[in-house]
Symmetry: D2
């Protein structure tokens, strides 16, 4: 994928001696899902304790912080947010006190009617101390008249539209909830008898927890002293798992609805080779996300696979550029072509997707400079023509290159020898369409009606600005 | 005074080109009122911007932070809080978004019915993200049905009991409000046409603003594009200015209701000498707060004034003690007697007050070790027998030495040659009783009924714990 | 390779408008060679300016620091050091003032007679403010009686034994020097007319400099206002380039003596497959260093290549372990097997080398747990049987598993189905032996006599301990 | 005094279980002597351990740092340096390894022939890694051929000219040395059998050590396992204690050559009143340094003493000024007049000295603005007409207002009603001239010939620049 697009990761555990420490490790494994801020809330049947800050898990949590988070229950969150909004006040888990005690929430997703509910709540006198859509759910829970937490949560969730995988923590309970469409992932595991929830199975692997199953779309799971209780309180909806988790977000060692993401990506590469082979000498990936698809392409096509780019893993969020621009500097600081591999070769370069096209352009140019004779760009996803409203940070429609140009026109703009996207059918074949995916970013057909609200509109709704 | 007891300081300015910078300077001058956290919120007629953090004004605000706080209106806050609660989530100004936009508030005081209102609000579904009593006022404003901010503020304030000097900031307005008893101070000044509010006049001095007058008890002042509007919306109450501002808190260069605090403290010392002179060689203060009263005592008694203690001004909040205790170490790190001044002398040592008595004991002991022949402890305030519920961090009644022991018994416990407190009448004579003071800490008679709630009870109400 | 073994990286540039900024970028590209501390020294024909600190390049240098480093000449350094010695006082470049002005030096390598020279210098009254072997060369330069810097440098270098690639910076000159054996790499490039030196060509790539050639073993290059002057002042020695640069250290996109490291690693994998093929279903690398050799193995053997491990790139130097150990935790936090790839498979796992064997053991165990039917460990280097004294941080002989056990015994200890190392002859075939390598770590035959001094002895020589 | 002029403080202790912790406390008490950097070195008979950094004692040392400093012997240092040179490389104690082991040194003073010795040493090949004059003494010790440390130290000290109070720490010894003129103070105490050295007695007070005596000018004291050995190895010189310690630097609770500094300052004020009384209503000090002299003036003159200025003790080294200058802002942020005390009064304002005159000008102006009817500036020291080369950071002669203008002209420049300095004779009477002081800053007559070297020249000698 040409621009880092991330979302969030959640992790939770109930009744474990080292709940905060285990949560810290879980977040460590989910760090690729968000690098701006992170936090952990824990509870000991009496209070909720929390700590959160801007920064990586490794920097935010130290021995002394972790040791102050008491209790056997904990939830955690890693967060990515759009530029200009790296605010502490939006870091999660959110924690609040209300009539029945304290509540903490960690959210992966995007609530498409948050602004509507927010307005309603504000009309009734609610105040908001973050600019995150997640805050509305705490308000709904607090204003619920139900006497059991699970009922307050369910009645609140019924008000929400959009995408969510939620973890709630009270003094004594952990509740996991996934929206009826199942947009965002959420899995369940077992660590020596303690229930664990995580955005991806790789978090279970690190702590040696056993993967039990996915939390089902529309499922709400309550874990408390009585045990585990699963309910399906919502009207059923068409399952709409985010196919971009498969294409890009999730770590390849994670399972998606029980299936190996690595293998599904290999499949995408194979389908791509079937549909859009090229007469070439080598197949190279754009690392790291393009590696499995490139391997699949190589397998299917029989063309040699090479690691044509070296990636610098020490690149931070920002770096000081020289005053006189170095060509393609932004991407060069991350990727450098292996000259002897590329030079004089007809190259198939496999990436996962194209969003704005700016990075793809730089990659094509770098390969040219490195002496590639032909450059055949292959993308293991269809053309991204429509923005995502379900938790992925894609730009507005206008900035999506594929919303305005055809495959051929894109190829001309990028200056490649050929540019081919995996077809939607090809993708479906690769990922076993019966898993039921949301394909809105390719098709523009949204599983659930979207309120007329652009990102610009949302910005206007943000009144108070925290400064760092 | 024997233990550092602090409260908070507020500052605000309307329509000044450098509002955030001026607010930073104002907080600098008010730093003695709170050293745990500080913050500034500014507004530019469209948005509210804010930054707050744990730490001193000088550490929290840097060029780049200040320059991001936009707009010509600003309010600021320095905060002190009881131990174990040095939490970022309680730092002020509080900022929230609600139906009509954004609102920010800085508060000095203590709302005695906050827990009652909080419960009510929670019953109606409100959530609380701080453990500060101040948060309730934002909820009240947000749930008000009035259409003008000033009316929402007034109707909210009418619900509150206890002590408050408030500064509110909206996108376009600054509102100052002082409770009808006038517990906490608040003054008004003019800086080249811009209205300024501050807890003390020393903040006006630093920025070269002219002191206009005190905000009156019960007064609410709205400053906006239309000008300045003053209203007195509350029922009149008996004026009850905090006499401890005079005795200890306020800087001596500040004015209190227009009178020089330095001079009033000199008066206290003179009254003390009239009531409780001693046959002694020298009068020495416990610096810095005891200096003016000691000077007054010396003037009246004719006994030589000497600076018998040197104060170390580089002492931070914490320091690493040696493993084997050094006698009186805690106070020694701050104060050291000047041996040649003390040795062989009959010493009158003047302090402002005694709370727990622990520090006074150490001071008496240090003077003995330094060779004082007699030690006559004189306090420029009456005996503190009852806790304060109006914004001063005094311990519970049980820990107040004067709530359990007579002057003589205290003298015996401290081991001084004599110990004498200024009488309540003496204090009244010194401070011009017609200014109308709250004397609750001496008399136990509270100007306003206090809800049955001890600090312990309040602790139980705090559910969620932020960790640092 | 089973344990992170790193050394140092150097970068220098003469006469470039943005010399410090370019050096910063060069160090960015060399960050994989050392993550403990870094520094830059620059000169403007009058003074030397410098800044260095513990931390990554991205954290140590900010706009304001870089902008204070004046001048058109600069050298930089990234450093790795053995545990317990992460000391600021050893951070490089070292800078000192002496008779002729100022001198700065950045060093990659290890001087085997440093302790002998140090003793001599100390006998003559020299003082040492670091525990780094590099400091002796500054002393030698300072005590030289030659009047030209180049002559002082050369006469000093003649005293040194061991491995060095040096960059020296004076007020007006940059000097590069490589020991006559050529143990450590050093390349030369051209950036729009400015001469550039770097440990690896990947640093040239990032700044768009053109690779000219390697600095030759035994070559000293002076760059000043007169131009570039190359001399070969030492007696010729048998070229002994570090073969471990090829096997592990260098980035695959770098050139080694003009040859592609990536391709040489592919060759190693191919030779390994020729020598030690296995009847297996898949070939997987230990990422990232094992990837090219695994690709080569797969190519030669015809067995399918898969990315059987996912690597977490957010792992810091330390992390908080859970109190109750998680099995193989240390390696798991970095690597996680892709279950569906491994399960039920006969796996060839390719790593670059084995040092202590502890990590290899964990990798074999992880693959077993992941359900591998057979595990054939293949190493793309021969058995490491002797410690390195030329700049690589290998443990003492006793801790090298291959110094005590045969290939078969190692296999038994690791519990793999088979374990095979590339033979020394195989390695030679792969890397074109005519490049002349140092093979001491495999053969125990050192190109230059080593002074009898173990690391333990050296530790005893360190008197003063900086504390962090 | 009108500009903060500071120097350095040293502390040392031999054979105490908590030597580093006690040293930390000693530095705490000496913090007023230097706020830029601080450090502690300790030894345990085998090694020297050290930690130093920019910052205050309270910020630089934490539990974990202190606990790593091992051993029962320790020396410490607080440092002030001239602007633009706040460099970590100059922080003390300096620590170096040399032929006989390790050595650490803490220095208060200024070596006037350091540049000459440095040149000599450089000619012989020495390198310098700091720009501090102190480094030369380590070089001299290292190049000494004596076999005992005490002899190496003594032979080195014999080479030095200028001012020094040195503490040396080896693995097993502590050595204290004071130059034969006795320019800078150094006292000796006893803490339960452990020998303690400190710049001032206030450091002894804090740790409950007993003051034994001053280290004598020209005395060198060796403390080791054999006990305490005092020698006087130098030719005797005219005692020349720094009178400015009395006037300004030292804390009033310290003893100077056994006499109370507070009382000597009272005497100065009294002499000043005798010489230069004024017909005035009140005497006020410029706090804190002017307080005792003002008290003395008031006593002698019979004029009322008042604290006419309030000092803000939270002022850091830098603060953000408003863009549009506030009048006299720099001094206002520290001092604010008490209006009701000043207004309409004829004021005697007592300060300790005038250097450039800029601050005195601001003080006079502030008093005018505050409504003083007359302003009589009185200085408790003679006119400073010549720079100090013995450890005090005074500006070059040209910037000393009293080097160019008479008392009357200065008064005219400051705009006061009258300005009077204590006469040199008056000072002598006050401080008991038989103590033998250096009066060079008043008389221009230096006890020891000064090498022709201005601060500018010295700047030119500094080649390498550390950047922060």
């Amino acid at each position: 994928m040409d621009e880092a697009k991330e979302e969030c990761g959640v992790f939770g555990i109930y009744n474990h001696e080292e709940a905060p420490n285990i949560t810290y490790l879980g977040l460590y494994a989910l760090q690729h899902r968000g690098q701006e801020s992170c936090g952990i809330a824990s509870s000991d049947n009496r209070n909720i304790y929390f700590h959160k800050s801007l920064g990586l898990v490794n920097d935010v949590f130290k021995e002394n912080t972790l040791s102050q988070l008491k209790g056997k229950n904990a939830i955690g969150h890693v967060r990515y947010s759009t530029s200009g909004e790296t605010l502490l006040k939006n870091a999660q888990p959110l924690v609040a006190d209300y009539y029945y005690g304290s509540i903490s929430v960690a959210h992966n997703g995007n609530l498409t009617n948050a602004h509507v509910i927010k307005e309603e709540l504000e009309e009734n006198g609610s105040i908001f101390s973050s600019t995150s859509d997640t805050e509305v759910v705490i308000h709904l829970i607090a204003s619920s008249t139900e006497s059991l937490l699970i009922d307050r949560v369910v009645s609140s969730l019924k008000r929400l539209k959009g995408a969510y995988s939620f973890l709630f923590l009270s003094e004594k309970e952990v509740i996991a909830a996934r929206d009826p469409f199942g947009f965002r992932p959420l899995v369940m595991g077992n660590l020596n008898g303690s229930v664990v929830f995580a955005s991806e199975t790789c978090a279970l692997d690190l702590i040696n927890a056993v993967y039990l199953r996915d939390v089902e779309p529309g499922e709400v799971i309550l874990v408390d002293g009585e045990g585990i209780k699963s309910i399906f309180p919502f009207e059923e909806e068409k399952k709409s798992r985010c196919v971009f988790e498969l294409i890009y977000f999730a770590r390849p060692d994670s399972l998606f609805n029980g299936k190996s993401i690595y293998k599904l990506r290999i499949q995408m590469g194979m389908e791509l080779a079937k549909e859009a082979n090229a007469d070439a000498d080598i197949v190279i990936p754009v690392p790291d996300s393009g590696v499995p698809a490139a391997l699949g392409f190589a397998k299917e096509s029989g063309i040699d696979f090479e690691m044509g780019f070296t990636r610098n893993h020490y690149v931070g969020r920002t770096f000081i550029e020289p005053k006189r621009a170095i060509r393609h500097f932004g991407v060069k600081v991350k990727l450098n072509p292996v000259l002897d591999v590329i030079k004089g070769k007809r190259v198939v370069v496999v990436d996962d997707s194209v969003v704005r096209g700016t990075t793809s352009k730089k990659i094509v140019d770098m390969l040219k400079l490195a002496g590639a004779k032909e450059i055949h760009l292959r993308l293991s996803s269809p053309m991204v023509t429509a923005p995502c409203f379900y938790g992925i940070d894609t730009p507005v429609k206008d900035e999506l290159i594929a919303s305005k140009y055809s495959e051929k026109e894109i190829n001309a703009k990028l200056g490649a020898s050929s540019t081919r996207f995996l077809s939607l059918d090809g993708l479906r074949r690769a990922v076993c369409a019966e898993m039921n995916f949301c394909e809105a970013c390719f098709s523009g057909i949204y599983p659930q009606a979207i309120y007329m609200e652009t990102q610009e509109n949302r910005q206007l709704k943000l009144f108070s600005k925290e400064i760092f």
